[in-house]
Symmetry: C2
Amino acid sequence: MQINLAIDAMSGDLGPRTNIAGVLLALLHDPLLSVTLVGKKSLLQTLLLQHHLSCEFAARIYLLASDDVIGMDEAPASVLRNRKQSSMHLAVKLVAQNLCQGVVSAGNTGALMLISRHYLGMLSGIERPAISTAIPTYKSHSYLLDVGANIACQPEHLLQFALMGSVMVSCVEGKVKPRVALLNVGHEAIKGNSLVKEAANLISQHPCLNYVGYIEGDKIFNGDVDLVVCDGFTGNTVLKTSEGLARYLSGQIQGLFHQNGYSRLVGFMAKPLLQRLKQQMDPVRYNGGSFLGLQGCVVKSHGNADAKGFSFAIMRAAIEARQGLAAHLQLAMKKQHLPNETC
Amino acid sequence: MQINLAIDAMSGDLGPRTNIAGVLLALLHDPLLSVTLVGKKSLLQTLLLQHHLSCEFAARIYLLASDDVIGMDEAPASVLRNRKQSSMHLAVKLVAQNLCQGVVSAGNTGALMLISRHYLGMLSGIERPAISTAIPTYKSHSYLLDVGANIACQPEHLLQFALMGSVMVSCVEGKVKPRVALLNVGHEAIKGNSLVKEAANLISQHPCLNYVGYIEGDKIFNGDVDLVVCDGFTGNTVLKTSEGLARYLSGQIQGLFHQNGYSRLVGFMAKPLLQRLKQQMDPVRYNGGSFLGLQGCVVKSHGNADAKGFSFAIMRAAIEARQGLAAHLQLAMKKQHLPNETC
């Protein structure tokens, strides 16, 4: 199915050069994808020219001019009100106007969230959007949400995250009744704070959810569950700690093969293996935080994602847009309010 | 300085055989250390005999009989009331009676906390004990607290954790004015939940603390701060996630060197390097959660720590006991309540 995604081309720490390289990787990977790059037109044109694209390839890239870029540290509320011609505003508006089927930005997360809520609106029955991301496991990958949209949560919010995440996993991964777990400090029923305990009560009783109980931090990479639910403060901390630790351990490995002549020789021989390892350890593979709960497809790329990382976020948006994730979510939310409805 | 530590020899998932092996490693490492093993006397004697210890060495090991062992999943409150002859009770009592200078257990954390509070009492001015642990960094290591004693915290508790942690780092590491950071989802002042924001307000104004601001999860391994403060829910999740990820990545590395003939050859050549790496990645190196806020030295070893891990927890307790950490903490807590006292 052909789709067109809006790309906030000016966003992210590494800027348009990296984003365009990422866009081209995604276009190469997905022949039915086209994109609308939003940003400084002359700059984008110059960067595109450097890639010597074929006419056929270039025809899949549209440009929309915007000379304003939202900074990473700007206050979201002020940005929402005052920067209506920025690349982020215009990119999200393309989805609201049905001109694009999804949007990808590596910019200011809070601003992207507010702007997306403003133009796209929330699904009925959902109070707060949540950000979901894939995490690697021994078996393949599972999903974690919320990873930062909701810093202070009530039990009902965690129930909504579980419902949205469950529909997302079903829709995107084709899994029937995904296994949902709540992140906690122990697996026993007495463990945890009141938020987790009350959320467990709500989630375990919901007929549409396949709740499998609490999960501790050291088990989330085992792949025994499909979805790990937590508040945004905890999820954000888990995600960032994992990134930091993977980077630290990767550095330790590199250092190990540079200690002396022998280790350098082994390091030389092991180079192809180490490169594969680096890819496996690279959080970039799972780059792309999906905003769930909006009436439209919005994916946030990591602020310092490289071209490959940015292309993963685009591919993530392409899957969600093609599967009609937002419509599936809306249907699921409506269904659960009907009497005697089975899930 | 000669000290004697009480060892809850029956504790932990791996039991007395592993614990005794760990005790012997610690005794080898520290010639001025002696221990009192608390547990099933005949079993401990049999296990000790298997090591063919010299008389001199055996003279540094005392035994105290207890036939009751507290299970890992038993309810702490019931254990406190009803299991007064258990190895954990008797081991902690040895410290309360000044017969030992500290206690190490790999048993039920909640039970160890309640029993320790009961027999040792809290330092005046401290409402809740906190568990602190060392974490590896690029530069050496820093400390994280609370990692699970306090699941629901108020801002004042985080201030107390910061004060206790700061004194601990000064005392054990010899650092003047340790750099204290609060774990948060962003470094900007507007980021975070109300707990973190109010705690930042209290900690930043305290004259005894060298507060350096918020720290995000991906920065805690950089070594730019000496102490990372958070509530016990977040800290426990950070710690367990790190353990799980390190185990996952370690597995990926092992798998990488077993894929084909070439990788097996490189793996064979890289074996000494990989073993060093395994040691570096091994959370065992930093095994030992210190209970801060008690009138005595209590260290919790990880439930599934091996002999080496258990020996690290014992060595941790030995350092804290020798430095008189509990007394230093008490002094610091008293000082801050005196008018015009400088820190």
